[in-house]
Symmetry: C2
Subunit: 210 residues, 2 copies
DNA sequence: CATTGGCAGTAACATTGGTTACAGATTTGG
DNA sequence: CCAAATCTGTAACCAATGTTACTGCCAATG
């Protein structure tokens, strides 16, 4: 494990902390689609993402979903942080967007390291900061953008995350994550294709000219 | 100052920390409508709210506003926290919703107290936690509710914050904060009045039967 | 290779919310 | 007290999005 830890967090954490993480952290590999966290569930450990991407989703009472943001390498789940500390239930769902590797930290260490290591405090604060900004981004999108702009933004983000010009998704899946209907997504995608921005295939969309 | 500090934070912070706050914090009273923070501005101090309410607003490039949430007594501004630590610009606007009193903490103390006082760490983490949850609430409203439900929720929140069944606002102001148009607000308010939920007057709305 | 199920395209329609325009009421300021 | 500004109500219309329904296409499977 020490190698992936060094590669991703070596520049962030001091030596002592890296050693502690190495000792108490457990390495974990999860496959694409794996549900890491469900709404209402309690959290027992804090994940440090070393590779891959995790999507964070919100759901209302009627089962309507909405994609909030993605976590990437070097990120941790701020929601989990607060859940750990407050012993509250998760407000969100987390699903592996790609295959991913992580290091799980037992929650008892959270408080201990916060006192002991400045770099840990900085990391935690920084994580919160990033997550709040991601949430603002999300709010901007929902509140200020039209569905076609949101869709395009979504496709670009998806492509960036997976480092692939081709997005492997059905229209229905996209509709869930944007909280709209399949028909609307099909309609707007067709318009984007007409504009030459994308190419549509069964189960996949290729980004062009962007 | 010591009295308002004790009343609001006495149960949260240990004695030593309270003393330090008392020494380095400066007391401040601000009137309703006072703009405490503008988008793009740098942050020099961290506010602890001891009375009143602050509204936090987001704006897009075209000047369209959106109310994110309110801060109340005992709260602090998590956005400010991250700005202090990261030395980044504010992403939001903060305006006093009512007359308010606060204690301003110089940002240098942030890191120092985070190391020294467990209760300070807890407070900061808790603040982040609360703010993330407020943001989730906001996202839920925008994403999952129709405008009439959002409007009603807004009125209730507004009433709760000011502890007053009467909301002193024009339809135009409400429209700004919900990011819609005056005509739409008037239309929906009229519907709510017909349903017997509110009573409309010039410059004010009275909540009934809720 | 025939059947089944999932996926995408499209039309027709309904609903929500945004826009424009104007009128009447009330307040404010000179 | 009069003129101007502000606030609200309302109608008519438009644009964006959501819904229903049906079609053909493709892929997997026995």
């Amino acid at each position: 494990m020490i190698q992936e830890l060094k590669d991703n967090y070596g520049h962030l954490f001091e030596e002592g902390l890296l050693n502690e993480i190495n000792q108490v952290g457990t390495f974990k590999e999860i496959p694409e689609g794996f549900k890491m966290m469900e709404i209402g569930q309690y959290v027992r450990a804090m994940p440090l993402l070393v590779s891959g991407a995790i999507k964070i989703l919100r759901e209302d009472g009627d089962g309507d979903e909405l994609l909030l943001y993605f976590l990437e390498k070097g990120d941790t789940c701020a929601m989990t942080l607060t859940c750990c500390l407050g012993q509250t239930k998760s407000e969100i769902r987390a699903i592996a967007e790609t295959d991913a590797k992580l290091i799980m930290i037992p929650i008892e260490k959270m408080e201990e390291w916060s006192e002991k290591y400045k770099s840990w405090r900085s990391f935690v604060f920084e994580s919160y900061h990033n997550r709040l900004n991601e949430m603002l981004e999300t709010i901007d999108s929902i509140a200020f953008l039209k569905m076609d702009e949101r869709l395009l933004k979504y496709l670009l983000e998806k492509s960036r995350i997976s480092n692939d010009k081709t997005i492997h998704n059905t229209h229905q899946q996209i509709a869930y994550e944007l909280h709209t209907s399949r028909v609307v997504v099909s309609r707007l995608l067709k318009k984007l294709e007409t504009l030459g921005k994308i190419e549509l295939h069964r189960n996949s969309i290729i980004l062009k000219d962007i």
